[in-house]
Amino acid sequence: MDQILSLAAENLLSPIILSFALGLFASLSRSELSIPEAIAKGMSIYLLFAIGFKGGVSVASHGVDGTLVLSLLVGVILSAGLPLIGFALLRVMTDLDPLNAAAVAAHYGSISIVTFVAGTSVLQSAGVDYEGYMVAVAAAMEAPAILAALWLVARSGGAGKMDAELWREILLNGSIVLLVGSFAIGWITGEKGLAEIDAFIVAPFKGVLCLFLLDMGLVAGRGLRGGAGLIRPGLVAFGVLMPLIGAAAGLSAGVLLGLSAGGTALFMVLGASASYIAVPAAMRVALPKANPSIYLTMSLGVTFPFNLTLGIPLYVAAARAFTGG
């Protein structure tokens, strides 16, 4: 318990979290501080490329066995399964209609890569290792949740618009391609490749993450200002409960697969985190009648800060306790 608290305290006072808080403060107080769209996108490309590459290099160094394939499979199942739980909970805990409930649920099956990155950074500070292929699991978990949500809508008598074009967009969305691509490059080029570019992708990584979280704080604060009216207590409760359920699922997965403490913690982070890039975009196409203010505020304004501040230290502590790592 002490360990959890000290990890949580340390986490809360890290430059990363404080940068997010600064962004949140700035936008809630309506400061005109803003980060250009191009810079935000540039940082996100950098982070995806770096995290993917490092994952690939780690796989190249430590080798892989069947666990990689199993982990991917379990990730897909989690991503498709969590929306079903989320949907049922939302229908009970809130007054969202099936359409909006399915749209929100899709976000919780999928993942947030920056939460994942923040998780790896906490692990690294704590000196805990993790399986490099967890970034591939992250990529695998992006899309299945979307299909699950569309199935939920169809079942409720509604109809999402799923066409070939959307399939391609979902499976080849920018972050999946970049993450999997740089993972492959890291795997192919290994430690030698890393040595060539580590001054770019390793050393400055945390600093870039700080500025990126500053930006996320700005965007989240703006969303909260606009969407706060929609987010009733039931939804807030869901936004904190659902990540705990996702984390529990991730914990079971990690333990069953026999992953390391770090890998298990990251599986929990993936289960707990909610998408705010890929899924919202897909929802605009497939479920245009669902209200984006609801799902964006839930994902970015409620669950993301919860995971970032309290969730991650909790998941790391739990993973260590259960794996003995």
Binding site: I35, P36, E37, L218, G226, A278, M283, N291, P292, S293
Partner: protein
């Protein structure tokens, strides 16, 4: 100066729908269009701004077509098919265009 009657159609549509719209326009025989970035906006579904955004979920683009008046209806049918269930605005203005062979 020789000018020609034309219509200027301005379609403000979600960024996610851009490719679907232009594909529909091309199928409808539209030979040219120009796409402007949009920085922010406000409507019945609230405010948005692209500032600091990574996701394409919120944000719009503006597609401008200069077309011959007789092609207007075909274009609007194609555009409406895409825009209808999505947020967005379509306006049509009478204009004069130079160089008729270009559109």
């Amino acid at each position: 100066m020789q000018t020609h009657e034309a219509k200027r159609v301005e379609i403000t549509i979600e960024a996610m729908m851009q490719t679907r719209l232009t594909t529909a326009l091309e199928r409808a025989g539209v030979t040219g269009y120009t796409i402007l970035p949009v920085f922010s906006g406000s409507g019945r579904s609230g405010n948005w701004t692209r500032s600091g955004q990574v996701s394409r979920a919120s944000g719009m683009v503006q597609v401008i077509c200069i077309i011959r008046p007789d092609r207007l209806d075909t274009l609007l049918d194609a555009a409406l098919g895409v825009v209808e269930s999505h947020i967005g605005v379509i306006s049509i203005t009478d204009c004069q265009a130079l160089q008729a062979e270009r559109f």
